[in-house]
Amino acid sequence: MKIPGDFLFYLSMHRECNERLLVRAKEIPENDLEVSLDRDDIRIKKMVRDVLGEVHRMRAFVRLSTCCDLVLFGYLKPRHRIAEYICDHLARRNAGIIVVLGNGSESWACLCRGSRVWRDHGSGLNQTLERLKAALPDDAVACKPGPDPETLWQAYYDSQYCPERKNLLAYHKNMPRRDQEAAGLRLVQNKKNVTLDDFFVSSLSSAGEHNES
């Protein structure tokens, strides 16, 4: 993974980033970080990559549900301070709709309209959604009936699996359980085809993740 020019922005989102590290990182010329073998620089590089990796996976794995025509919400509990950034990304993708991400203790809301962006950071996801519902007119809150996108998705997802290509190691490597949990993703593994092998591979990969952290 290439270190981007604005690596300070990503470094600042790391959960262990502090003032001292940011000051040290500011001294490193942009192109040097990629090739530097200095111990501090290697640590900074690793921290930036950790954040970039989590940003990439959360952009992909967070799922949005419809609260009403004007609000989309999803679960997010990241390890690094990336929630606001992810919320911005999803709000830009759904212009004119308020996107709320959060968990039991905090939430982030964002609305993009044209080139303008409004943000809010507050208490738990449920409280924020309640406040939004109260602030919206009744006809906007009334949700039109429709099938659960999750049902559509699960049917489609199951259809894409080729049993002759089964490769659980690649699956667990690409969809780490830790990141699935951070995005509140229900494990999307096709339960109809689960075997004893799945259990062993899944336990092995979980053990690997614990060792890493």
Partner: protein, 404 residues
Amino acid sequence: MVTLEKMAHLAEESRFDSLGLAAGVDERKLIALGKGTSHDVCASTYSPRDTPLPGICHAFTQDGRCVSLFKTLFTNRCSHQCSYCTNASSCSSKPQAFSYTPEELARITLTLYRGNYIEGLFLSSGAGRDEDRIMEKIVETARLLRSKHSFSGYIHLKVLPGASQAHIQEAMLLADRVSINLEAPSASRLGDICSTKSYESDIVQRQRYISRFMHDLRAEAGGRSRVLPAGQTTQLVVGAAGESDEEIFQSVLYEYREIGVKRAYYSAFSPQQKTSFECRPAQPLWREHRLYQMDWLYRVYHFHESEIRQAFSDSGFLANADPKMAIAREHLDQPVDPNAASYQELLRVPGIGPKSAERIIAYRKRQPLAAKSQLAAMGVRIKRAAPFLKINGWRDTTLLMWQA
């Protein structure tokens, strides 16, 4: 920071007619038409548009493959007789026939896109009774998404073999990428697996047309044209007609040089029940993997054609081993000094890729490399690279040196 109440007021002000979610979708249809594309390998969503769409995988299947697009057939009715396909008219037990309507397909796509399940649509189809009619519906779906619903996600449209130029042109103006599957490396091989398609007129001629039209539009716009930003691609079924890897390489070279495809995809043949090829042996997945490695060497590492040919056996097949290593064994007589080698020379060392080669060159401008550990820190895979390197005048002992 603003209050949530203000945000709610602003959203209410900009309220537009709801898209409406996909309603009453038959789950059996979703599964049957989704299954029809499970062997289509392209899952790329990268598109260099005004606002570049990044490549992203929203999920992975249990086979480790990326699911980033809503990949589906428009219909599974097909008049072609491809011997490996379950939707072929020659298949003895065809699945129940299903079709979407353009509006229905557009709504499913939008519902999944809004929920952040997908990055866009990959739309293929059986030929139905008339490929032009189906192509028209495919184009109509894309038009609905782009014009009526202002969809800004990624769209990859399959051009059906034999489709008219007018439909191809429309598809190109709406999609990020179009593709026509080559399926086999030559006309005679295609004849072995499908008696109803003409390799030259139904497939290659259409590819040439896409290439020419894209070129004309870009020339007209002086290079600023955003038509088909992710280009055209193709896909081959590996081993269905008994072709060798070298035959595949030869046809892919033609595709890259003459047609200008962005990428070729390979799908190892796997026999499907009740098809004419049910009894043919499945091709090992490693064959597909080795072909991708060979493709990578040509496309990304810019290895010369003659170098790549060294990796093929006399019978024209790749061994189940890294082709780059086989080529290095043939070509690298002398160890490479990372402090003096050019970018191209570094790239020819197994374990050194484009990024690590760039890093080595950037690092040695400041100070010379003195140890293998420095190379390892730059991403070089030392175990593979060490036998081909000489650092500070020192090189690893190899079995060949002992033999000498």
